[in-house]
């Protein structure tokens, strides 16, 4: 039990950014938009968050700046794919290339500069006991990610707006003919996804390693994309999946550090596991009878009302 607590704490750190990014991508995909630019948006959010923290020392402002930066670059994607109905796959890839380059350019002057980590949300006395530390030892983004899981679940399931968003993702032409603005809903969903990716990116310098390094998200944006599919577009499963992926990512290191049976698994297999697991889950989903109801039917398809 004592050994478990630090593992959980590390695991939470690894899972939180991919969970936040994946939640944003889930909302975008539910509206029918596949944005493969998550990695790029995360990097832009990471540098924006770093710079804000560097100058102001206010981590909440830093998260907000990350969100704004992520949302801003997602607007490029939204404009191209929604207003001009460009191909989503290609635009998303371009966004990742763009975000990687932009963040490297903007971050160059900040490389040798440390910042302060974001402090835990709750007072120290609550987290002193190891057991309570598991509950109260984290900073704001961790709790934010949990709240957002519940909020997005509730939004998609229980609200009228959520229903409209799903309708737009399932059948854009019907939604349009009823009078909903397909493009407007999708704009909102994409920008929300961008803001969440930006927050997720800002978590890297604020929560994990208080520095700026080029490409510091190191492919976790793609894991977030995989995670959405892995979770078959369900927020609660996303939560479980993020912690499962986080576990795979940290268990490798704990296995190597601690030895034991798991240590014999080559590190390359550990690294490939989240991706292979996602394929397996895709297959399992498709074997079920209600397979077609999982993926939003309009995912990745451009919408242009006939006029």
């Amino acid at each position: 039990m004592e050994m478990l607590i630090p593992i959980i704490v590390t695991l939470v750190g690894a899972a939180t950014p991919i969970l936040i990014a994946a939640l944003g991508e889930l909302v975008a995909e539910k509206s029918g938009v596949l944005n493969l630019g998550v990695e790029g948006m995360m990097l832009v959010g990471a540098i924006a968050g770093f710079v804000a923290q560097f100058y102001t020392g206010n981590p909440y402002l830093a998260l907000l700046c990350g969100a704004f930066a992520g949302a801003a670059v997602s607007l490029i994607f939204a404009f191209l794919t929604l207003s001009l109905s460009a191909n989503q796959t290609a635009t998303g890839l371009a966004l990742t290339i763009f975000g990687t380059g932009l963040s490297a350019l903007a971050g160059a002057p900040y490389s040798a500069k440390p910042i302060a980590l974001m402090a835990p949300l709750f007072p120290d006395m609550l987290a002193r006991d190891p057991f309570w530390r598991v509950l109260f030892g984290y900073s704001f983004p961790v709790y934010f990610s949990f709240i957002m899981v519940a909020a997005i679940w509730w939004f998609l399931k229980r609200t009228r707006t959520g229903l409209i968003l799903r309708a737009v993702g399932e059948n854009d032409h019907s939604a349009h003919s009823i009078g909903y603005s397909v493009v407007g809903v999708r704009y909102a969903a994409v920008v929300f996804g961008g803001a969440m990716a930006g927050i997720a990116g800002a978590c890297f310098p604020l929560l994990l390693t208080p520095q700026w390094a080029e490409s510091m998200t190191a492919g976790r944006g793609w894991i977030a994309v995989a995670l959405v599919v892995f979770a078959s577009w369900r927020p609660l499963r996303l939560l479980a999946g993020a912690y499962l992926f986080g576990l795979v990512m940290t268990m490798e290191l704990y296995a190597k550090a601690g030895g034991g049976v798991l240590a014999i698994i080559p590190s390359e297999l550990w690294a490939a596991l989240p991706y292979l697991a996602t394929i397996v889950v895709l297959v399992l989903i498709s074997l079920r009878r209600d397979a077609s109801t999982n993926a939003p039917a309009c995912l990745g398809k451009p919408f242009m009302p006939a006029n």
């Binding site: 590390t10 980590l117 390094a213 190597k256 550090a257």
Partner: protein, 360 residues
Amino acid sequence: MTLSRRDILKIGGAAAALPLLGGTAFAQEKLKVGFIYVGTINDNGYNYGHNQGRIFLQDALGDAVETTYVENVPEGPDCERVLRELAQQGNKLIFATSFGFGDAVIKVAAEFPDVKFEHATGYMKADNVGLYNARFYEGRAVCGTIAGHLSKTGKAAYIGSFPIPEVVMGINALALSGRRINPAFTVKPVYISTWNDPAKEGDAARALIDQGVDIIAQHTDGPAALQVAQERGIVGGFGQGADMSAFAPEAQLTAIIDHWGPHYVNSAKAVIAGTWTAGDTWEGLKEEVVQMGAYNKKIPADVVADAEKIRTGQIDGSFKIFTGPIKDNTGTERVAAGVAMTDAELLSMDWYVEGVEQPV
């Protein structure tokens, strides 16, 4: 007059030769020196160190040299193209600073016999390809001495990228010197298969600290592991490649600083003087290519004195860390008592000394 294809080729050849003539005619002209880096100059580690060396060279020789660099050069054909580009732009001395550039250096060097190349950490030489490397392990021996004294749990960890000889040497030097102080001192290597993934380095450090490790050495291109050491408040760790005390003022006990500048100055001077030959240098603390950062204030004076003894001993040659008897981690004696390992043996080291847990 009709021009045949042959004539055009000839004219083209003459035009291509012109810059070369110019180079010999005006020997007093600036020496152009090119550098290629495998990563970004902003990594706060290995590539940053080489770029600092370039700046040192530029400052030291001023108007006599003009330096250029290309960063983020992938190993393989891309690097071949960049080397050719630098050679064609008139760089007469080119430093290729990563092991994986080796094949390309040999290939391009054959095409430009009048350009001098120097390849860091490699093993393939040619008439105009020299090799240079730094004895980082000497710094590790100083670190190990401090670790042996300060570690309360007697357990240190070493986060590396890949098990290449340079990393293996560093692990072994850390273990050997630590065990001179504390015979129960152990080192646990963890390889993370990447040079630059700060979050993964950080998580590896967290996992190791959770296993009772209180000294962390890392051999990757950034300060992430040290920052975790700082955050967790363990005894500490060591900067690698550059002084990282800004990132971890409490945790950085000292740092191994790559100081390539003097080597770059010597090579550039030799090219200007026309005395450059393809060398094979492996310099360390003595030549100041490897330097130690300031000792952390929290280290007791007697420990600092002991560390200094190891440092100065390696400078005057009285102390060599890889001197027998050395057993490997299966208990077999690899080096007999009193025998010092040769450079060739060190450069191909693929076994761990006693006290190092066998990594998987």
